[in-house]
Symmetry: C2
Subunit: 230 residues, 2 copies
């Protein structure tokens, strides 16, 4: 279980960091990062930042998943991304100069480090490797979202659900997917009831198994086939 206090995580030993943008060629900057970051414990459902506010810094996920979502006109959430350990989130709005277009909320109890805007921009300016990493990340996400938009526009809900499960299987690194039906529906872009029915179908087809809230993927190949063409 996670320590409930403000646990200070050392960047030097942080496992999550090694998979992050702070990984390569970063040894000489580690102490700087170490000094300027602060760690906090986020309870499940606690927001990191909220759409419409201005960014104060970036968040580095040490432990726990975070949903990144926008709200439609009726307030319904559309989950854009589910971030896992090692990811750095919230930097988009720091470069665009405008407010957050999305919100981020902890999906489970989490350990998250914070680096202030000034410190982060400083590091970007002085560290070309980090900067290139950020630019690569921005670009990669931009490509991902083009695909996301296309899937939204052209795939059926069933296909999108299959695609979402494949993505989530990776996010949860083989662990069982642990999301409320509502969050899953808001990721796929459908009504909760529809999602529940389609999950049941997939279960009956032997593609997944449902353990109450947790979803286990049984037949990934079939899932990919469903997600793919018609």
């Amino acid at each position: 279980m996670l320590d409930k206090s403000h646990k200070h995580v050392s960047c030097a030993t942080c496992q999550a960091r090694k998979k992050s943008l702070f990984s390569a060629n970063f040894d000489e900057n580690l102490s700087h990062l170490e000094e300027h970051k602060s760690c906090s414990y986020f309870k499940k459902n606690q927001p990191l930042f909220i759409e419409g506010s201005f960014p104060r810094g970036v968040y580095c996920l040490n432990q726990g998943k975070v949903k990144v979502f926008a709200r439609g006109d009726e307030g319904k959430e559309q989950i854009i991304h589910i971030a896992k350990e090692g990811e750095i989130i919230g930097f988009r709005a720091m470069f665009s100069g405008d407010m957050y277009k999305v919100s981020a909320t902890a999906l489970e109890d989490a350990n998250i480090c914070f680096i202030s805007k000034d410190d982060f921009l400083d590091m970007i300016d002085t560290n070309p490797t980090l900067r290139n990493g950020i630019m690569r990340e921005l670009s990669k996400e931009l490509g991902d979202r083009a695909v996301f938009i296309t899937n939204m526009a052209q795939k059926s809900v069933r296909e999108r659900l299959a695609a979402a499960l494949i993505i989530l299987d990776d996010v949860y690194s083989g662990e069982q997917i642990n999301l409320t039906r509502e969050d899953l529906a808001n990721f796929v872009g459908t009504a909760t009831e529809t999602l529940i029915r389609l999950l049941k179908d997939l279960k009956e087809e032997g593609v997944i198994d449902i353990h109450t809230r947790k979803l286990e993927i049984i037949d990934k190949d079939k899932l990919m086939k469903i997600a793919g063409g018609r």
Copy 2:
């Protein structure tokens, strides 16, 4: 009418440039840009680059609009963006290191300048202003796409059409919108037939006027209302 030859456009006098990322604090770099760019004439429907290929450089639109689109599993186009004069396109994949996730095609006869990958990356490295502009642009687009995804997931086709027309009114800077019904449908994310019917509805409601292929916006306020809530 546009000159059909390889017209060399001078960056110094290029009107489009002034609205572009190459605008601010760029005087001392103008000659460099001038030397390293090449101009070409693109015929309507001529591709600039194609999904799956690797980027060779960036394209700077001097005259003429360009559609940026992805293809779904069945090959159907999903238009992600319609670029107008002054925009620079195709740089995403240069930073991500991977292939284009989208294609770009001239929507009309166009004058487009090209800057090779090496030259462009060079400029990025040595010119912080340009670099920041690029980062701002990447970030802004990323935010736009979060909204795009949300609209796709939550709005009706009619609402999306209204939203698209508002965007296009800006792209065409008050000129009449000039797109095939199919392209418009592929931007809105719907079937061509559905789009045609909804356009007719809007016309009957006095919101737009249809001059064969060209669309004129009559009542923008009403359009915004339709695009907005329910």
